[in-house]
């Protein structure tokens, strides 16, 4: 029996068979490689956190160095209340470990739309996030100089896609010890420069303006900066604004936690 290769029926059957075969093989590949990819992502996260406190790690020693420098992993809620704290070895598979909190996913799922809808109105934003049941991870580290440091993951939006980073605060909880940023699709040479050290180095030693109108500002290129602000990237205005927004929004949550900590100590 000769099959007409160009009949509509054959075309449909061919397409369906093709989709099934391709779908199965891709699903199989993705599933069988997932563990390795997750482990790589966890290593990368550890390297980024360590980089924020000035420790350079690579994939081979990220786990060991992380265990050495990061003494406690804390999860807090939107109000700044302590949810959980763990200090034993990281288990990326343990969903209750603050290390496993996927801040990028949380941002995508609920925070991003809330930020947009609230348009700067903090009360409205807090209201819309109140039932999202968000937790925020905090990494307490001790560096070689025996300083207590707090590493805070921040996530926001640049011009084309997500941007993220880690900000390390000193023990006084207002001085920035270090920061690093990364992005997915910002323009090379412009917004993409946020990951370069010439930009992140400017954050070192700056202070958060607790009680001021903004905790911290990334100013438009060329502006005069004081101890609560850094110079943004010329030509990368929207990415710089994104960095500004994510730092302010996220650190506010952590400041509530820090305040409650200081009060408890007094």
């Amino acid at each position: 029996m000769a099959i007409d290769k160009n009949s509509t029926g054959y075309t449909f059957i061919f397409s369906i068979a093709m989709v099934v075969v391709v779908g199965t093989s891709l699903a199989f590949t993705a599933l069988s490689l997932k563990d390795r990819q997750d482990a790589n992502a966890a290593d990368k996260k550890m390297m980024d956190i360590l980089r924020a406190i000035g420790v350079s790690a690579d994939r081979s020693n990220a786990n060991d160095l992380f265990a050495e420098y990061v003494v406690e992993r804390v999860a807090i809620d939107l109000e700044g209340r302590l949810v959980s704290a763990i200090s034993d070895a990281v288990n990326p598979k343990d969903k209750s470990d603050p290390f496993s909190i996927d801040v990028k996913k949380d941002y995508r799922a609920s925070i991003k739309s809330a930020v947009k809808a609230a348009d700067g109105d903090e009360l409205a934003m807090a209201k819309s996030l109140a039932d999202a049941d968000l937790t925020f991870p905090l990494f307490r580290c001790v560096n070689d100089a025996n300083q207590n440091l707090f590493v805070i993951p921040v996530v926001g939006s640049g011009l084309w896609g997500p941007i993220w980073g880690y900000v390390a605060l000193e023990e006084d909880m207002t001085t920035i010890f270090g920061a690093n940023f990364d992005h997915k699709t910002e323009t090379p040479g412009l917004g993409a420069e946020i990951k370069e050290s010439f930009f992140t180095d400017k954050f070192k030693g700056k202070k958060l303006d607790v009680g001021g109108s903004a905790l911290f500002s990334v100013l438009k290129g060329g502006a005069l900066t004081d101890e609560n602000s850094v110079d943004g990237i010329t030509g990368g205005t929207i990415t710089s604004k994104g960095v500004d927004e994510m730092i302010n929004r996220t650190l506010k949550v952590y400041l509530r936690y820090f305040e409650s900590q200081t009060q408890a100590r007094i």
Binding site: K5, N6, T11, M18, V22, S25, L26, T29, Q37, N40
Partner: protein, 230 residues
């Protein structure tokens, strides 16, 4: 495209007959996909800053090329004409996704550096071009050789450009698994009080274009048959 018709008529040739050898060797020089056909230069320009990226990219393209050519060649009598481009695209896209996933699992750092360019192998004109022009009309054996030939033609340009750019731009050479090896003594560099400075222009995209241009120039001066008559 004399190579194609030649291979199509050669039905019972051994795998390394003269015609089949031509399939392998032609794309390296006379019909090089980058320097003669000027296909797929987007990725060739973008990922040639370091040798190790170029090596990984070349291997990825080699894999996708061989897989795509052989699969499409095997299916050539079954693929409905009306949806053949879509079928080719699906085959290439699946192979690229597999490559991307494997890189993410085993070479995460390089995968990060190659970023979108692995995904963009899908749109690499060399691959679709070979599928449409060769694999669709030839048996798997010759298609396999044609894939290797073209991928190698792509690869050697990539490697040559990246070696030139990395040596002069970073004063180093990098291979997968070895990291970047700096072969010049550190005290030679101006920052250390020496006399040598890396040429940062080599790292910027325009130099890739110029380097490819120089390769084309050398190739044409050696191989006069490539020069078009006005």
């Amino acid at each position: 495209m004399s190579a194609e018709t030649a291979a199509a008529t050669a039905k019972k040739d051994s795998l390394f007959s003269k015609k089949n050898r031509k399939l392998l060797i032609d794309p390296l020089d006379d019909s090089n996909p980058i320097t003669v056909q000027v296909l797929g230069i987007c990725s060739a320009l973008a990922i040639t800053v370091q040798l190790q990226q170029a090596v990984i990219m070349s291997l990825s393209v080699l894999f996708v090329m061989i897989g795509g050519n052989v699969i499409v060649s095997l299916l050539r009598n079954m693929i409905p004409d009306r949806i053949r481009i879509i079928v080719q695209l699906v085959v290439v896209a699946s192979l690229v996704i597999i490559v991307d996933q494997v890189l993410k699992a085993f070479q995460p750092d390089i995968s990060e550096k190659l970023s979108v360019f692995v995904g963009l192998i899908i749109t690499n004109c060399i691959i679709m071009g070979r599928l449409e022009a060769f694999a669709l009309g030839n048996k798997p054996g010759p298609s396999f050789l044609d894939a290797i030939g073209n991928a190698m033609g792509y690869a050697w340009i990539l490697l040559a450009v990246s070696i030139i750019r990395e040596v002069f731009g970073s004063g180093a050479i990098s291979l997968p698994g070895m990291g970047q090896v700096k072969f010049l003594p550190a005290e030679w560099f101006m920052s250390e009080g020496g006399f040598y400075e890396n040429n940062n222009l080599m790292i910027l995209p325009p130099m890739a274009l110029i380097t490819v241009g120089v390769i084309i120039w050398i190739q044409r001066s050696r191989n006069q048959s490539l020069i078009e008559e006005n």
